[in-house]
């Protein structure tokens, strides 16, 4: 299955933020959107999810024009993991996860036995059984991210869209989330994510789209796109990209270079 953007322009209330971009993500691929703050990564994300209508161009989901699909049809194909925000009410974790089944049941019905079973098995798969009866509001940032991950997976989607899945996470949790992303892609799921960590694109072998000023939109393999020249241009600030051999593997390092005060 393929999620495709065809000359897609998006923005709010007629103001174009992202102009005419095209890309394709297939099942089993990891697609990582990189770019500076305010360049329109989230806007592009919301447009693909159908949360805001495109200004121009089209989004294709499995060969169908997304504009002609209902929220429920989109939700069945694409599971969304938003950046976690503190919610207003203290739902139980199991209740939050089972809400992911809403796209699989009728609008006028409640989740039944199979839906609760699906939620249970996703919790087991992600190793978060112990969170089942906790209150969502009392979880740590990392735990909340895992619960949102579970809520997206429980509707058995073909694609996952994750908005900065590793922000606010410590190294341990980053490793957990990234290896989960890797294994879900290996299992045939397509993953589309935004990130502020180019190194994570290398870590999970992602295809990268680098968004830069003046409508820059470069798509390709991580090694092809994440170069000193491209990164420095996109972030309008010098960026170092290096490959470091480490115990038989290659580490990819990517860091901003600070201007020295005496220069």
């Amino acid at each position: 299955m393929i999620v495709g953007l065809e000359n897609l322009s998006c923005g709010y209330g007629g103001r174009t933020v992202v102009a005419s971009v095209s890309a394709e993500v297939a099942s089993g691929e990891i697609f990582c959107l990189l770019g500076p703050n305010g360049i329109g990564k989230t806007t592009l994300f919301k447009t693909v999810l159908g949360l805001i209508p495109p200004i121009g161009g089209r989004v294709f989901i499995g060969g169908r024009n997304a504009a002609e699909m209902s929220p429920k049809e989109i939700a069945r194909v694409i599971g969304y993991v938003p950046q976690s925000r503190p919610p207003p009410f203290a739902f139980k974790v199991s209740d939050v996860i089972v809400m992911g089944r809403i796209s699989r049941i009728g609008a006028w019905s409640a989740p039944g036995r199979t839906d609760h079973a699906a939620a249970d098995s996703v919790m087991t798969r992600l190793g978060i059984d112990s969170l089942r009866d906790k209150l969502y509001t009392e979880l740590s940032g990392g735990e909340r991210q895992m619960v949102l991950f579970a809520r997206a997976l429980v509707c058995e989607p073909s694609f996952l869209m994750m908005d900065e899945p590793t922000s606010n996470l410590d190294f341990g949790n980053q490793a957990v989330v990234l290896s989960n992303i890797r294994s879900f892609a290996d299992g045939g799921m397509g993953v589309i994510m935004t990130s502020h960590f180019p190194e994570h694109a290398f870590l999970c072998g992602a295809k990268v789209a680098l968004m830069g000023p003046e409508g820059g939109f470069q798509v390709g393999d991580a090694t092809e796109v994440i170069t000193e020249k491209n990164m420095s241009a996109a972030y309008e600030s010098p960026v170092a990209v290096a490959r470091v051999p480490y115990r038989g593997i290659d580490l990819h390092c990517c860091q901003p270079i600070l201007k020295r005060s005496d220069e």
Binding site: Y12, G13, G14, K46, L49, G50, L51, I52, P53, S70, P71, K72, I74, A75, R76, Y80, P82, R85, P87, P88, F89, A90, F91, K92, D95, M99, G100, I102, S103, I105, A107, W108, S109, A110, P111, R113, H116, T137, R151, C155
Partner: protein, 345 residues
């Protein structure tokens, strides 16, 4: 069905039993003294079909023409207002929203005041008040829809703000109606209506109307309870997990408005129930509408029934309901702010 998914059932049963007990006791409360023994004798006479003992003839009349319809009405109105508040709080992602957030209560007050000024009979007061309530919410939806047209959707903030403006508008109309009302007879009547009372509404006709309306409004809300659960995570998250946010929101507003407008048009403005009851219930039952909706309905009925009992016995005449709901509701609410803080912030 696996009981694990309904862990709050004991609580719902407990409230239900409390409600039944309160209803039976409420029948004995009032100016006409009716001990439980007399009451059960009268009820048994009706059930068995035997003629009622002459000494109990008055008890029979008091129980069946005054108290039973009044108890039923108080329970139904309390249930309707509490459910409407619970659904709104969940949908507006805000625990301090009440059923009158879109202006329905104040508009219904203006309708009633206008009907009183025009010397309409009581049916006219109910109907005009109901119509005004519905019109106000329709107006809010239209204005909010127009404002949101540019961005393609209507945000919760726009709806709530528009509701506030409409509320203020109808508040000033209420003041105008009071200002022009004849202070000898019309003004007291308007004032009394605005403070809510079951005294003039307790007929079986009204009970049946309220029963039908509650069924009509509550059924869709119950069926949509999981969609409404999802909406408390915000419009975008709800949509991304497959909720048709626009349709669900309009349906919830229609049902809640139906429940509130009919309650208010029959019994006058009754404040606090729709705000405070879902709060207290959420503390005990959690925010999942699976448990919150039924528990709120039962607790709302219980709360308003007890308040109405007080209003019947505290003073020789009748104390308007809203005076007592606020007097009991306000300290309860403040207690909640201390007790429940962790739960919903």
């Amino acid at each position: 069905m696996n009981m694990r998914h309904f862990p709050k059932f004991p609580l719902i049963y407990a409230i239900f039993i409390a409600l039944m007990a309160a209803a039976a006791l409420s029948a004995t409360v009032g100016r006409y003294y009716m001990p439980l023994g007399d009451m059960s004798a009268v009820v048994w006479a009706r059930i068995s079909g035997h003629p009622v003992d002459a000494s109990l003839a008055q008890a029979d009349v008091v129980l069946f023409t005054l108290r039973i319809p009044r108890i039923a009405l108080a329970v139904l109105v309390g249930a309707a207002l509490a459910l409407s508040g619970a659904a709104y709080q969940s949908m507006f992602q805000n625990p301090i929203v009440s059923p009158d957030v879109l202006g329905v209560t104040h508009a219904a007050g203006v309708g009633a005041a206008a009907a009183i000024l025009l010397d309409l009979p009581s049916l006219g007061v109910h109907l005009l008040s109901f119509a005004f309530g519905i019109c106000a919410v329709t107006l809010v939806l239209l204005i909010a829809g127009l404002i949101g047209r540019g961005s393609g959707r209507v945000s919760v903030a726009v709806l709530v703000l528009t509701g506030m403006v409409i509320t203020f508008f109808f508040q000033s109309l209420t003041s105008l109606a009071k200002y022009v009302a004849d202070s000898e007879n019309k003004l007291p009547e308007i004032t009394f209506w605005l403070m809510g009372s079951f005294a003039r509404a307790n007929s079986y006709r009204n009970v049946i109307i309220m029963l039908i309306v509650t069924a009509l409004g509550a059924t869709p809300l119950f069926l949509l309870r999981w969609q409404i659960n999802a909406m408390s995570f915000g419009d975008e998250e709800a949509r991304s997990i497959g909720v048709n946010v626009r349709h669900t929101r309009v349906l919830v507003i229609i049902c809640s408005t139906l429940l509130t407008a009919s309650s208010v048009s029959l019994c006058g403005s009754i404040s606090w129930v729709g705000l405070v009851v879902p709060h207290i219930v959420r503390l005990a039952a959690g925010p999942n509408n699976d448990a919150l909706f039924p528990a709120s309905m039962l607790a709302g009925g219980l709360f308003l029934l007890i308040v109405d009992d007080f209003s019947r016995v505290i003073v020789p005449g009748e104390l308007p309901i809203s005076i007592l709901t606020s007097m009991i509701g306000a300290p309860l609410f403040i207690y909640m702010l201390f007790r429940g803080r962790r739960e919903w912030i």
